[in-house]
């Protein structure tokens, strides 16, 4: 289910915008989630203090990451959990496969894990003859539709209930034309119950790993992580190296922030602690780097690793709301995805830091106060310097910089057709002017302010 598209964000977003009523529906659905978040946040007078505290705790974690990782490994091992380390996606996938292969397991149930999306685990296991069923309802829907999730918290937010009805009719045998969410959910529940009862292996993500205790916490609304893990003989938990928090008491900060930011709920329905395996079963944790230590070394982008994957930046982002998650062509979409993805592949994701107006809403809803829009600006500088910017754009920018650095050239440019049109932002690399497609051009006045001022009596030219 990897994204195989070669189109960039502007093209994919333009495709999405061909159906305007659908864009309106998508935009309003996500804005409704943002509004719920606002209501939940405003019920806590200490909200901003919580955000600051969470941000500082994560700063401490990132500053002492190796210490906390070793502490976590030691405590988890003491608890009887087996800890694995994976340098990258390939190693992570191999570890999962070998754990299954050693036990002769060919079927696995998996609850939501954006890390496994990042690693394209499902594709890998499918190629190795392992059948994976996603147990999060939204993930199951996109899995049946053979699509990647479009949102990290709401994986099938781009699908209308009628479309889900069609998918369930085709794959799960629900009645044709059935779109009642209650009936569809019950259909999925019956289907997944069978899966839970028969799978010997369960893979989950990790929301928080506590260094002090060696335990980890998984937050779900459906209880699907618990159902999978409690019934399987082997529970594999995949986590990025940044998922740590120092002490259990810090959960009080993060659990209060996470779901209020994500969906406006006070807390997830299930916040399940896993500290040691049940008798006769095993827990394995795979701690994955996959580029995170490189990002940690990029001082300007380090804070992106504070992310707790709440998705609030996506819900608030006007570009995300009006372009859809798939237009980002990466596992983690939206503003946070746009500052994480270039670290993994700068060339492939060179378009993403530009898929933003730098409006700053993301940075201000973020529960761990990541300076997302400032990082988007900084990634733009890096991408241009590394040579991943179109040549025509570079030429236009050079001409523009030269003109704007010279008062004489600027005045001449203004007179000969109002400079701003000549180079940017309207005329970058164009035959057809993209501004004019849906907007009128500003009317050029007879004289500029500078020309008016020069004629003004008693003008204080300096």
């Amino acid at each position: 289910m990897s994204t195989t598209t070669t189109k960039d964000h502007p093209h994919l977003a333009a495709d999405f915008n061909r159906d305007e009523p659908r864009v309106n529906w998508h935009d309003e659905t996500l804005w409704w989630v943002r509004a719920k978040r606002d209501i939940a946040a405003h019920k806590l007078p200490e909200w901003e203090l919580l955000r600051e505290t969470a941000s500082q705790i994560k700063f401490n974690v990132l500053s002492n990451l190796s210490t906390y990782l070793e502490q976590f490994e030691a405590n988890a091992t003491k608890n009887g959990i087996i800890v694995h380390w994976a340098a990258d996606a390939a190693e992570h996938n191999q570890i999962v496969h070998s754990l299954l292969e050693q036990r002769g397991i060919t079927k696995m149930v998996k609850s939501k894990s954006m890390l496994t999306e990042e690693c394209h685990l499902n594709d890998y296991l499918k190629d190795h003859g392992i059948d994976v069923i996603d147990s999060d309802l939204g993930e199951r829907i996109v899995q049946l539709a053979n699509e990647p999730p479009s949102h990290i918290v709401l994986p099938c937010i781009h699908k209308k209930k009628e479309e889900i009805g069609d998918i369930f009719h085709e794959h799960l045998g629900s009645a044709k034309g059935e779109s009642d969410p209650k009936i569809l959910t019950e259909t999925a529940r019956q289907h997944l119950r069978e899966v839970f009862l028969t799978r010997r292996a369960a893979l989950t993500g990790v929301n928080f790993a506590v260094a002090e205790t060696g335990e980890f916490v998984i937050c779900t609304n459906e209880g699907n992580a618990d159902m999978g893990a409690h019934l399987a003989e082997i529970h594999i938990a995949s986590m990025g190296i940044e998922k740590l928090i120092p002490e259990r008491k810090h959960l009080g900060v993060f659990l209060r922030l996470l779901t209020r930011s994500a969906t406006g709920q006070p807390i997830t329905t299930y916040s399940s602690h896993f500290s040691k395996p049940r008798d006769g079963s095993e827990i394995h944790i795979i701690i994955v780097d996959n580029g995170r230590s490189i990002q940690l070394g990029r001082e300007e982008f380090r804070n992106s690793l504070k992310c707790i994957r709440c998705g609030a930046c996506m819900n608030t982002c006007p570009v995300y709301r009006k372009s859809g998650g798939h237009s980002y062509h990466t596992a983690v979409a939206g503003p946070i995805g746009s500052i994480l993805a270039p670290n993994l592949d700068m060339k492939k994701y060179a378009d993403l830091p530009f898929a933003s107006t730098l409006c700053g809403s993301c940075s201000n809803v973020c529960p761990v106060k990541i300076d997302i829009h400032d990082q988007l600006y900084k990634w733009r500088q890096v991408i241009v310097k590394e040579g991943y910017s179109p040549k025509a754009k570079t030429m236009a920018m050079k001409a523009m910089a030269l003109t704007l650095a010279s008062p004489a050239l600027y005045r001449m440019g203004g007179k000969t057709g109002r400079l701003v049109f000549k180079y940017a932002p309207f005329a970058v690399n164009n035959k057809l002017n993209p501004w004019y497609n849906q907007r009128e051009m500003p009317k050029a006045p007879d004289e500029s302010f500078g020309e008016w001022y020069a004629k003004r009596k008693g003008a204080k030219n300096s």
């Binding site: 898929a355 107006t357 409006c359 201000n364 701003v420 849906q438 006045p445 001022y453 204080k460 030219n461």
Partner: protein, 246 residues
């Protein structure tokens, strides 16, 4: 009080009336306003496109033009923010630092420095206030909806002093208009859709004018309004505050 008027390049070229209103308003309020004539642009169009390294010429010119004033006032939150955050100049860093401290967007200058309590302006229309993102979340000229904090709005505070003006409520008080500099052409589809949705919010609430402390947003919204043959007009906040002022 010696005030230098910083007129952004696109305001100079396309919206001279907003700059004229800013100048007249500041003079009426007792400022000695100078217009450094060799000014061009703050450099933001290059910087936001990833070419901050090409802004050295603009930065030097800016420092040469705007050093030595008590304040620098600009009728654009976005350009003001760019100067505040990014103005640096080799060999002139001390002057650049002074400028970064002394540069103000017009409405924050009127409220925080001149402490304007009343205006004799009159503008008997229903007006929608568009909050520019850079003014709002960058300069904090108003409270943003994301934060759990006391609401305030410097532009609205000033508009409330204008006779006959009625501010219309909006469904989304601070959603972005989608201009975003080169974003408006690179991401044409999303940009235009964002602009259309902002316009629809103002129009459905009965606005006759859309105003803002930033003309780049207004230029975008005007492009959409005119394409729709709408009667609704855009007007910079300075033009309202200076309107019929004795």
């Amino acid at each position: 009080m010696r005030v230098a008027l910083f007129v952004p390049c696109y305001v100079d070229q396309f919206y001279p009336n907003a700059a004229i209103a800013t100048l007249e308003l500041l003079e009426k309020l007792g400022c000695e306003v100078h217009y450094p004539k060799n000014q061009t642009c703050c450099g933001q169009p290059m910087a936001n496109s990833g070419y901050e390294h090409l802004t050295g010429g603009c930065n030097n010119l800016f420092v040469d033009n705007f050093s030595g004033y008590d304040y620098i006032v600009c009728p654009s939150g976005s350009c003001t923010l760019h100067i505040k955050e990014h103005l640096h100049a080799d060999g002139k860093e001390e002057q650049a630092t002074e400028i970064r401290k002394r540069v103000y967007e017009l409405t924050e200058f009127l409220v925080d420095i001149l402490r304007v309590k009343q205006l004799s302006a009159s503008f008997p229309y229903r007006v929608g206030l568009h909050q520019s993102c850079h003014g709002l979340r960058g300069l904090r000229i108003a409270q943003m909806s994301e934060l759990v904090a006391e609401p305030f709005s410097k532009p609205a505070q000033l508009l409330d002093m204008v006779n006959g003006l009625e501010l219309v409520p909006l469904s989304r008080q601070d959603d972005c208009c989608g201009f975003g500099g080169t974003f408006c052409v690179v991401e044409e589809a999303v940009s235009a859709k964002m602009g259309k949705d902002r316009v629809a919010d103002h129009v459905s609430h009965g606005a006759q004018y859309i105003t803002s402390a930033d003309l780049s947003c207004l230029m975008h919204l005007e492009g959409i309004l005119r394409r729709q043959n709408s009667d609704v007009k855009v007007i910079h906040v300075a033009e309202i505050l200076n309107h019929s002022m004795q």
